[in-house]
C-alpha cells in the first residue's frame, strides 16, 4: 500500500491531487467519484453578483485553450447558502477560492467565507486590483505583501495564495506572499494570451485577451513552480497543463507538495482520477512508500546548473 497522503498548507490531504479553480463544480459528482479527490477547490467567488464576460469565452489553440470567462458570480451570500452545503456530504477538504478588487474587499470576503465546512481559503490574487491601476495584486511583491497581510488578519483558516505567471518576478512575489502569511502557494493561474480568426479578422475571444491553459503552458509553469519552491519554505502546489500522472510527477519531483488539474478535466472528465492512479502506480513501481518522499527529489546537479540561469533571468 502506497501512502498518498500529504500535509499541504495547513490541511492534510488523502492524496495530492485536486481540481484547479474554475474547472470544477458539484456537477462532476454525476460523472466521477468525487470522494477520491485530495480536496475540492471551488470556482472563484466575488463579493457581489457578476455576469461574466461576453461570448465567445473560450477558444482552442494547439495544445490548450484560451478563456475569458470572467468571474460570473452569484455573490458571496448565495455562495455560502447554496454552494458550500453541496459538499457537506463528502469527507474531502473544501478549499474556497475568493477574489475582490481592493485589499479591504478581499479581507472582507475572506472573513465571510471562513465558516464551518471550509478547510482553507485560496486567494486568487491574480485578479485586477483597482487601487493599482487594475494590475493584478500578484504582479508585484509590494501589492502582494499588502493584500496578504490584510487577508492574514481576516481568517484563522489556512490561506493559499494563487500566483499569476504574468509577473516577471515570480520568486519575489512568492516570498512576499509567504511573508504576508500565506500557508501555501498555488503556482499558477493562466498566462495572458490571444488568438485571431484570420477569416473574420476578429479576436477569437469576445474579450480579445484571455488566459492560456492546458499542456502548452506546462514547461513554463513547471519552471515557475521550481523557482517558487526554492524561494520559500511553505508548500507549493503545482498547477498548469497537467494532463497525466507523468505531468504531475514532474511537479512533485521539482518540489511541489500537491497539484491541481484544470483544463484536462474538460477533455477527460476522469483526468484527476487517472492522475491519482498513475501516481500510485509510479510509487509502487519505484519502491516509494510515501508519495511525500518524492517531493523535491530533483537531482542535485540540476540545482547547481540552474543557478547560472537565475543569474541571467
Amino acid at each position: 500500500m502506497v501512502d498518498l497522503s500529504v500535509d499541504c498548507g495547513g490541511i492534510r490531504l488523502a492524496n495530492p491531487v485536486m481540481p484547479a479553480s474554475g474547472t470544477f463544480a458539484s456537477e462532476l459528482a454525476d460523472i466521477i467519484e468525487l470522494q477520491r479527490l485530495g480536496a475540492f477547490v471551488t470556482k472563484t467567488v466575488t463579493p457581489g453578483k457578476r455576469q461574466g464576460n461576453p461570448t465567445p469565452r473560450v477558444s482552442e489553440v494547439p495544445g490548450g485553450m484560451l478563456n475569458s470567462i470572467g468571474i460570473p458570480s452569484k455573490g458571496v451570500d448565495a455562495f455560502i447558502d447554496e454552494t458550500i452545503p453541496l459538499y457537506a456530504d463528502y469527507d474531502v477538504p473544501l478549499v474556497v477560492s475568493i477574489s475582490a478588487d481592493t485589499p479591504d474587499g478581499f479581507a472582507d470576503i475572506c472573513r465571510r467565507v471562513s465558516v464551518p465546512g471550509v478547510a482553507a481559503v485560496e486567494v486568487n490574487i491574480s485578479c485586477p486590483n483597482i487601487e493599482d491601476d487594475g494590475r493584478a495584486f500578484a504582479m508585484r511583491p509590494e501589492t502582494t505583501l499588502a493584500v496578504m497581510r490584510k487577508l492574514r488578519q481576516a481568517t484563522d483558516l489556512p490561506l493559499w495564495a494563487k500566483l499569476t505567471p504574468n509577473t516577471g518576478e515570480i520568486p519575489a512575489v512568492a516570498q512576499a506572499a509567504e511573508e504576508g502569511g500565506a500557508d501555501a502557494l498555488v503556482v499558477a493561474n493562466t498566462i495572458l494570451a490571444m488568438s485571431v480568426d484570420i477569416r473574420t479578422r476578429r479576436a477569437s475571444l469576445g474579450r480579445v485577451m484571455g488566459g492560456l491553459s492546458g499542456p502548452a503552458i506546462k514547461p513554463i509553469i513547471l519552471r515557475m513552480a521550481y523557482q517558487c519552491v526554492r524561494a520559500v519554505q511553505i508548500p507549493v502546489i503545482g498547477c498548469g497543463g497537467i494532463m497525466t500522472a507523468a505531468d504531475a510527477l514532474e511537479y512533485l519531483i521539482v518540489g511541489c507538495r500537491a497539484v491541481q488539474v484544470g483544463t484536462a478535466t474538460f477533455v477527460h472528465p476522469g483526468a484527476m482520477l487517472t492522475v491519482i492512479d498513475g501516481l500510485e502506480d509510479y510509487c509502487r513501481q519505484n519502491g516509494i512508500d510515501r508519495i511525500a518522499d518524492l517531493t523535491g527529489t530533483l537531482s542535485a546537479e540540476a540545482h547547481d546548473a540552474s543557478l547560472e540561469w537565475e543569474a541571467i533571468a
Binding site: G10, I11, G22, T23, F24, A25, E27, L28, A29, D30, I31, I32, E33, L34, Q35, K43, Q51, G52, T55, P56, R57, V58, E60, V61, P62, G63, G64, M65, N67, I69, P72, A88, D89, Y90, D91, V92, P93, L94, P116, G117, V118, A119, A120, D156, L157, P158, D183, G214, T265, F266, V267, H268, P269, G270
Partner: protein
C-alpha cells in the same frame, strides 16, 4: 495552523454516475451529401437509453496538422437501444469534424455522454410540430419516434437551401412524421410562409406544441406563433462548449426570465429550453 474539521461522510449513498466517458466502436461513417456525414457507433449498456435532445461530447482524433483540443458537441440523431447503437449526423466544417470524417469502420472514438436535458412532450397527447433547418434536423430527428410512441401526431417542417439538401426526409417519414419541406431555392422557406404554414396546421388541429432547432429566424417565427396561440414549445440551442457539464460557464446564452435577462449554460441547463424564454442570437 489547523483547519476547522470538515463534516463526516453522509451514510446516504451518492448518486450513481449518469454520463460516462468511453471508447465506442464505429460501425459506419458515411457521407450523406456533400456536407454531412452519418456516423453510427456501438455503445455500452445504458448509453443507448439517451433521450432525444441530449448530446455527446466527441473527442475528435488528431490527424497531421489538425489537432482539435476541445471535444465537439453532437446531438444524438438516431437511438437504437435494441442494437446498442447511436448515430450522429454531422456537418463537416472545421478541424474536429474533418478528423472525425476520416475515421473508418471498426476504429474507436472516445465519447462522453449522454449529456444535457432532452425534449419534453406535452402531457395531453397534443399533436406536435417540429421545425428544423441544417444541423437542427439532426437534433430533432429522434423526437419523431419518441413522440409517436407516446401517442402524439407529428408534423415536421424541414427547411434547407435546396431540395437536394433536405436531409433525413425518409428518416422522418419512416418514423411516422408528416413531412413538409421548404427550401430557399423554391422560395418557400421565408419566415412569413413558415408562419402561415404553422397557422394553417393549427387551424387543422395539427399544431398543439412546437419544437424548433437550427435557425435563429425560425426560432423567432416559432416564438411569435407560440405566443399568439398560447402554445407549449421548446427550442434546442447551440453554443461553443468546453466541459459540457456545467463547470466552466463558457456556453452561456441570454434568456428571458420574467422581466430579467439571465445567462444560462446551454450544456447543463439545456440544450433544450422553453421556447419563449430563449433570446435571439
Amino acid at each position: 495552523m489547523q483547519a476547522t474539521p470538515h463534516p463526516l461522510p453522509s451514510p446516504t449513498p451518492l448518486a450513481p454516475p449518469r454520463a460516462g466517458e468511453f471508447d465506442a466502436r464505429i460501425v459506419s461513417n458515411e457521407p450523406v451529401n456533400a456536407e454531412y456525414r452519418l456516423m453510427t457507433v456501438e455503445v455500452p449498456d445504458g448509453a443507448a437509453e439517451a433521450r432525444p435532445g441530449q448530446f455527446f461530447q466527441i473527442l475528435c482524433p488528431h490527424s497531421g496538422a489538425l489537432q482539435p483540443f476541445f471535444r465537439r458537441p453532437m446531438s444524438i440523431y438516431r437511438i437504437d437501444p435494441a442494437a446498442g447503437q447511436l448515430s450522429f449526423l454531422y456537418k463537416v466544417t472545421g478541424t474536429g469534424t474533418r478528423t472525425m470524417a476520416e475515421l473508418e469502420p471498426d476504429a474507436t472514438i472516445n465519447l462522453f455522454g449522454p449529456l444535457g436535458n432532452g425534449f419534453t412532450l406535452p402531457e395531453d397527447g397534443a399533436p406536435i410540430v417540429l421545425l428544423g433547418r441544417g444541423v437542427g434536423l439532426a437534433t430533432m430527428a429522434p423526437l419523431v419516434p419518441f413522440a409517436r410512441k407516446a401517442g402524439h401526431a407529428v408534423t415536421a417542417i424541414l427547411s434547407a437551401r435546396t431540395p437536394e439538401l433536405v436531409m433525413s426526409e425518409a428518416e422522418f417519414v419512416d418514423a411516422g412524421a408528416n413531412v413538409l419541406a421548404v427550401t430557399d431555392s423554391q422560395g418557400t422557406s421565408a419566415v412569413e410562409n413558415v408562419e402561415d404554414m404553422l397557422h394553417g396546421l393549427h387551424a387543422e388541429g395539427r399544431l398543439g406544441a412546437l419544437y424548433v432547432c437550427g435557425s435563429n429566424r425560425l426560432m423567432l417565427a416559432a416564438q411569435r406563433v407560440a405566443r399568439r396561440l398560447g402554445l407549449f414549445g421548446e427550442a434546442a440551442l447551440e453554443q461553443q462548449m468546453a466541459c459540457g457539464v456545467g463547470m466552466c460557464f463558457c456556453c452561456v446564452r441570454p434568456f428571458r426570465q420574467g422581466d430579467e435577462i439571465v445567462h444560462r449554460r446551454v450544456c447543463s441547463e439545456g440544450p433544450v429550453f422553453p421556447l419563449l424564454e430563449a433570446l435571439e442570437w
